[in-house]
């Protein structure tokens, strides 16, 4: 089996070693599978391992490369996919008991694109049931049990891409597909100490992926580095006529590498000062220290405030209303009672009471908020703040509804998700119990290259992303 040092290499480095035939795709897949079988169950990281498929794809990659048919930087590189993405021949459970035996006879567009790129699917990553589409109150709301944080298994990975976060942080795969409706990539990336990217809405096709909120769902990469996120995004992105909301041809594509974007003289970063009500001690210091790293590279750091507005309310209401449409049959039939979480079992009934006027009102306000936020980017290339307001919570933490917090209407995930903006989170330190702290960059719509450029520059001058948890 290959050493842990190899298994924690970035995707770009793995791909280069495969291209130059210094690394065997078969040996790499076998090593990740062995590690996934040994460590995965301890963390509840996977829903399904696709061992047979992985070995078949790895052997094919090895033969093709040997024969001189190199497909590109993901050829022979393993990955995991959140279990809401259809992969032909394997269950796609959506993390929920009512769909525990569900199978699709086609591949989601992202899986098809990765097949074309010669990538190797190791397995389907565990997730929060229905990606939290009907609401949930804690990390145990999953068909496969609560995902445990590789940095400390008493703590949660965050969700809903909970398994994708655990898989990447534990070195069970070099990268994974996550999905993000409101923070479901950014939060696990922050809590697991990895990079996670939510691309601009519409850049990556959702065809074949479970829908929660049609106007807010995004798929994106979770990996070791921001650079890897850009590399993977270049394969995932592109127009897809099968996704109604796909960006047009010529706009949806994302090209790697992006050498023209790096933080240098004149790069303007807005340091958000009013989005979190409170933060874990030490976190703001870690964020400020990270921004000083970029300042030393020539970036101009200026405090920025998000204008007041019901961002969080509009985001939550949109999700509740659209999820009720997406899961109408599950709710009406009463099979929502089979969900693990007590909130998920009944929340749909409450959401069915929203009116069409309510929905349209929210969507009218949403456009105004979108314009309000877009104006901020006249002054800044990216906005920066903590990935989350704290490091990971214990898996056994009480449900959120017992918290003493009012609605935090300007939380960055609500804002950027509501407005379809790209965001990328990377680790920037450690907090209590040696759990990772995260930093995130948010960009203007379609400026995915700016958030990657900022995060990549930060990682070129720091070592936080090279830390890894002790696992056996």
């Amino acid at each position: 089996m290959l050493s842990e040092d190899i298994l924690f290499l970035p995707v770009r480095e793995l791909g280069e070693r495969i291209r130059t035939r210094k690394l065997s795709p078969v040996a790499l897949a076998e090593s990740y599978l062995e590690r996934s079988e040994r460590i995965g169950p301890q963390l509840h990281a996977y829903a399904t391992l696709t061992k047979e498929l992985a070995l078949r794809q790895a052997r094919a990659a090895e033969s093709e490369i040997k024969a001189g048919h190199y497909r590109g930087p993901l050829h022979g590189v393993p990955y995991a996919a959140k279990d809401l993405v259809a992969a032909k021949g394997y269950p796609t459970t959506w993390g929920a008991k009512p769909y525990a035996t569900q199978e699709f006879d086609f591949d989601a567009t992202v899986i098809a694109r990765l097949n074309d790129a010669g990538a190797v699917l190791l397995g389907k990553a565990a997730m929060i049931e229905l990606a939290g589409g009907l609401g949930y109150s804690g990390g145990n709301a999953s068909l496969t049990g609560g995902a445990k944080n590789p940095w400390n298994p008493e703590y949660w990975t965050c969700g809903s891409s909970s398994g994708s976060g655990a898989v990447v942080a534990a070195g069970l795969a070099p990268w994974a597909i996550g999905s993000d409706t409101r923070g479901s990539i950014l939060c696990p990336a922050s809590w697991c100490g990895i990079a996670g990217m939510r691309p601009t809405y519409g850049r990556v096709s959702r065809f074949g992926a479970m829908a929660i909120a049609y106007t807010m769902d995004k798929l994106g990469p979770m990996a070791r580095t921001a650079d890897d996120c850009g590399l993977v995004l270049s394969v995932l992105a592109g127009h897809d006529p099968l996704d109604q909301h796909s960006l047009p041809r010529g706009v949806a594509e994302f090209h790697d590498p992006i050498p023209h974007v790096s933080v240098g003289q004149g790069f303007r970063i807005g340091r958000l000062t009013n989005v979190w009500r409170e933060m874990e001690p030490g976190l703001q210091t870690a964020v400020d220290e990270a921004l000083r790293v970029l300042e030393r590279q020539g970036a101009k750091i200026v405090d920025a405030e998000v204008p007041d507005g019901p961002y969080e309310e509009a985001a939550e209401l949109t999700i509740l209303m659209e999820a009720t449409a997406a899961f109408q049959e599950l709710i009406s039939s009463g099979r929502c009672a089979e969900l693990v979480d007590p909130v998920g079992r009944i929340n749909g009934y409450a959401s069915m009471e929203f009116s069409a006027e309510d929905y349209l009102r929210v969507q009218r306000v949403r456009l105004c908020l979108q314009k309000q936020i877009d104006k901020l980017f006249d002054r800044f290339d990216v906005l920066a703040t903590a990935g989350e307001s704290s490091s990971a919570s214990p898996l056994s933490a009480p449900p959120d509804e017992d918290s003493d917090d009012p609605i935090a209407r300007r939380e960055p995930d609500g804002i950027s998700s509501l407005c379809g903006l790209p965001a990328l989170g990377v680790p920037c330190g450690f907090g209590k119990n040696k759990l990772p702290f995260g930093l995130q960059f948010i960009g203007r719509a379609l400026c995915d290259d700016q958030v990657i450029g900022a995060a990549r520059t930060f990682q070129m001058h720091t070592e936080w992303h090279k830390q890894r948890p002790s696992l056996s």
């Binding site: 939290g132 949930y136 509804e401 917090d405």
Partner: protein, 120 residues
Amino acid sequence: MPRAPKISRRQFNCLAAAAAASTLALPDLTAAPPGEYRQTGNVSGSTPEQAREVEAKLANIIRKYGPRLSAADREHLRKILAHNEIMLASVRAFALQNGDPTSTVLKVSVAEAAPEREKR
């Protein structure tokens, strides 16, 4: 969505205070066995109108799905509905003009974003 909708203890205190100030006598649907409707108590809501809305929606849910819901489920639903009303009130408070369109399908700002990229 990483978290379920939050309903804070502080908000419930506010809701409870508003309910206590209210003279509304509305049905305690959580105490009723499935399918039954008994008018016994007050409901919580930040305004009497919101409290009435919560109870009307809860009654409608129970009319349609009552046999599926325990007393605890009903109480939980009341809290969720109250939280939803707070969020709706917040959105309704945002001033709109008649001509403000809907983002029924979200469109990213393609035309506005592209020139910004070209500047760099």
